[in-house]
């Protein structure tokens, strides 16, 4: 298939062929038709001339009744003219005279009819029918067609010759294109047509000039590329360095550690964390902190004279040390002890002040999961407030807990997103009447399979996550909404963390305002967590009391709070800690503490609530001790939906 788009000469020749053929065919048909028509007309005119020539004579003879003369005339005319096949003279519907050639049946002809008029008059005296043959016409047409064909053949030959000439004319262009298609700036092409005077020669010369320019440009470009490549290499090195190097200390970073770990056959890893470095930063500023970190890194590096262990900076106040072999437990213990000692003896200066650092270290013997394991060991050391720990297989449980915590964080987020955080309500019953006075709102999370999770499973993790305030906010909003049309009191647990969080306090105020539940709401402040900032709590309690809320101290009797401070708060309820209540029937000390709390409360006109009342025996005992309200499984479990009509 001819690719017209790719070749200019092919396109020219193709269209030339199309135009030529169309022209030839068009000319042939036009001329043939015109010729035929002309010849036909010519024959008719000839016939006309003959008819007009003989007609007066025939008219004269016919008029004069000289039919023999008429016969003679038409016979002579017919004989002398091969194109006339016959003539018939008709007068008054009768054939007066007729002469027809014998072979008339085989011929093609046309009939020309003329009225015979009386000489010197318009009076009709008959009709003359002249049968005129097409034979001559056909001969003429054939001859003409033949000539036309020869002419057109000549034209076609000329066109072909012209096409060949055109092809030859354009062939230099093709050659130039072929040469150019293999062109690279390194090659020097020589065009053989450059000495020609025509356009091809000019193109060739221009291309040669262009070639020189491109060559010099390419040379420049090549040099520039080399420079750029060097620069790129330099930058790559720099970036690599940045990627694998800590800019502050000049130590290799976590990425390098990971790569080194992978490249080693066996390893021992130590993670070193500077204790309370945050405080140091806060106290002396980050600039000093960074300087100390750099000095620390330098000091440790100075301790290492061999290739291994290698020293790395993880991030912030965390460093790592990597050995390229599996050390024995005793060796690593000895090393860790020595290192801890060396670090503690290091002195850092800030102005004229001497500073010393304490570190906690976690170590892992072996390459597999070294980072995680060393991290677990570090956490364990931190938990146990030891200077170092070495990862043991039994620490896997910590690892599992760690995994579990991560899962719980994900689950908490999901629960918030899917609104699966819901309040459950446990009745608080009047100890004397046994009738519900109100409800304590307890947080629950619904699992994927509709199972219910209690705060026991997630509260500690939640407090460490950023989702904790959101959980409290949800509880506040949903609890207030649930009791908005109720006459029951309801209590919400608030920790010191919650009170300190402005967003939570804001949500609390907004919910109280929105659902108009100030007079029903009891805020249970958890005492067991230990209240340090009493003025903040006092202000909060005063504000809430002012709004109309009541205040309860939860888990009273087990915490480390200052009784004096607590009793100065304008509280309405004391909720006696469940651990005391559940043993009240068996433990005299618990009974004594509860009795003291109740007496104290009564004197301060504070109502008391006993939690964890799980049996009739406990109930009877706390009732006997004078507790006002009771709460526990003996009366009701926490439920998602409860009766919201209460007897106050």
């Amino acid at each position: 298939m001819l690719n017209l788009k790719k070749s200019l000469s092919s396109r020219i020749l193709f269209y030339f062929f199309i135009v030529g053929t169309t022209l030839i065919v068009g000319v042939f048909y036009t001329f043939e038709e015109a010729g035929k028509e002309a010849f036909k007309q010519m024959e008719k005119e000839k016939a006309e001339v003959i008819v007009n020539t003989i007609l007066p004579t025939i008219a004269m003879n016919l008029y004069l009744g000289m039919t023999s003369n008429v016969n003679k005339v038409i016979k002579e005319v017919t004989k002398n003219n091969e194109n006339i096949l016959g003539i018939t003279i008709v007068n008054n519907g009768k054939v007066v005279s007729s002469y027809l050639k014998k072979d008339i049946g085989k011929s093609e002809y046309f009939i020309m009819t003329r009225t015979i008029k009386r000489p010197n008059s318009d009076e009709s005296i008959g009709r003359m029918h002249v049968i005129y043959s097409y034979a001559h016409f056909k001969r003429l047409v054939n001859k003409y067609s033949k000539l036309l064909w020869i002419f057109l053949f000549g034209i076609a030959v000329l066109l072909i010759l012209f096409s060949i000439y055109l092809e030859q004319l354009l062939s230099p262009l093709k050659q130039i294109v072929l040469q150019l298609s293999n062109y690279t700036p390194k090659k020097t092409l020589s065009f053989e047509f450059s000495d020609r005077e025509d356009e091809i020669g000019r193109i060739s010369r221009t291309l040669e000039k262009m070639q020189q320019k491109i060559k010099s440009y390419a040379l420049k470009q090549e040099n520039m590329n080399k420079i750029l490549e060097e620069k790129v290499q330099q930058k790559t090195q720099e970036l690599k360095k940045r990627l694998y190097m800590d800019s502050l200390t000049g130590l290799p970073n976590r990425f390098r550690l990971q790569e080194d770990l992978e490249s080693l056959q066996d390893a021992t890893l130590i993670i070193i964390n500077i204790d309370d470095f945050k405080e140091l930063n806060d106290l002396f500023g980050h600039k000093t902190g960074d300087k100390i970190l750099a000095n620390f890194a330098q000091n440790i590096t100075n301790l290492i004279s061999t290739n291994y262990p290698k020293f790395y900076r993880f991030s912030g106040d965390e460093f790592a040390m990597l050995f390229n072999r599996k050390m024995t437990k005793s060796d690593i213990e000895q090393f860790l002890g020595l290192l801890a000692n060396k670090i503690e003896n290091m002195t850092f200066f800030h102005g004229d002040k001497e500073l010393s650092l304490h570190v906690t270290m976690g170590a892992c013997i072996g390459k597999d999961g070294a980072l995680e394991k060393a991290d677990i060991a570090l956490k364990k050391a931190k938990q146990h407030k030891k200077s170092y720990e070495i990862y043991k297989e039994s620490d896997k449980s910590v690892e599992r807990q760690y995994q579990k915590n991560i899962e719980w964080i994900k689950r908490l987020k999901k629960s918030i997103d899917l609104e699966r955080v819901v309040p459950f309500f446990q009745a608080i019953v009047n100890a004397k009447t046994k009738r519900p006075k109100g409800y304590e709102c307890l947080m629950r999370i619904k699992g994927d399979e509709r199972q219910i999770h209690t705060p026991y499973e997630f509260l500690e993790i939640a407090k460490k996550s950023r989702y904790y305030p959101k959980l409290t906010q949800i509880m506040i909003a949903k609890s207030c909404q649930y009791f908005q049309h109720s006459n029951c009191s309801f209590s919400i647990n608030l920790s010191i963390l919650d009170i300190m969080n402005k967003e939570i306090v804001q949500t609390l105020k907004e919910s109280i305002d929105k659902y108009q539940v100030a007079n029903q709401l009891i805020l249970e402040i958890v005492e067991s967590e230990g209240i340090e900032n009493y003025s903040l709590v006092h202000d909060f309690v005063a504000e809430m009391k002012n709004i109309g809320c009541q205040i309860a101290i939860d888990d009273f009797g087990t915490g480390y709070s200052n009784f004096e401070h607590i009793l100065k708060l304008p509280i309405d309820y004391i909720k006696i800690d469940g651990s005391l209540v559940k043993n009240v029937s068996t433990d005299e000390n618990s009974e004594l503490i509860i009795s003291t709390i109740v007496n104290l409360a009564k004197k301060k006109k504070i109502a008391t609530v006993a939690e964890f009342v799980s049996s009739a025996e406990i109930y009877e005992k706390v009732k006997e001790l004078g507790v006002d309200y009771v709460q526990g499984y003996y009366f009701a479990k926490p439920e998602e939906h409860v009766e919201i009509e209460c007897n106050q």
Partner: protein, 181 residues
């Protein structure tokens, strides 16, 4: 015997003066038509009537009548828009008539001197058509004769034609033969 010889002689001479009726019919048919071939006919015939005189001697009166009868039959309604009026006139009457109204004359057989006189008489008139029964009579100075030879032949006296005020259709000349005395 003498009577027999006399009868034979009479019959012989009588046959000599006998007319060819076919020729008479042909001539009666053609002569008026030939007049119409003249494109100046209308200028010659002012009264729209063609007066066609059949000049005859007493002896041929019977044939003259026959001729007239043929004419009257053929052209009873006129010819070419002209009324046609044929009249048998003796040569002597015609020669004596100084103001003849004849538009055309047809001459049956007559003596040479009579024919010469008639020719002499019409020579002054350029608009009179003269036809003869006999072809040879043309030579005396008459215009046209139709003879039956192998076929019908029209003879025209070229001298009379040129002398007269005639303008016949060219086709007529094509089919005619000219006599030049």
């Amino acid at each position: 015997m003498r009577k027999i010889v006399l009868c034979i002689l009479v019959a012989y001479f009588a046959r000599a003066y006998e007319y060819n009726k076919l020729l008479l019919r042909t001539q009666s048919s053609l002569y008026p038509k030939l007049m119409l071939m003249d494109q100046k006919l209308s200028s010659h015939i002012k009264d729209k009537r063609i007066d066609f005189y059949i000049l005859v001697t007493a002896i041929d009166r019977l044939y003259a009548k026959y001729f007239k009868k043929q004419l009257d039959r053929l052209y009873a309604t006129g010819i070419g828009g002209y009324r046609f009026c044929s009249k048998i006139v003796n040569f002597s009457t015609f020669l004596a008539d100084k103001r003849s109204e004849a538009d055309a004359i047809y001459l049956l057989r007559a003596k040479e001197d009579i024919l010469k006189q008639v020719a002499q008489k019409i020579a002054n008139r350029r608009d009179i058509y003269s036809f003869t029964y006999e072809k040879k009579d043309l030579l005396y100075g008459f215009l046209c004769n139709v003879a039956i030879e192998k076929e019908v032949v029209i003879y025209i006296n070229k001298k009379v034609l040129l002398r007269g005020d005639f303008e016949f259709l060219p086709q007529l000349y094509q089919i005619s033969r000219f006599i030049e005395p």
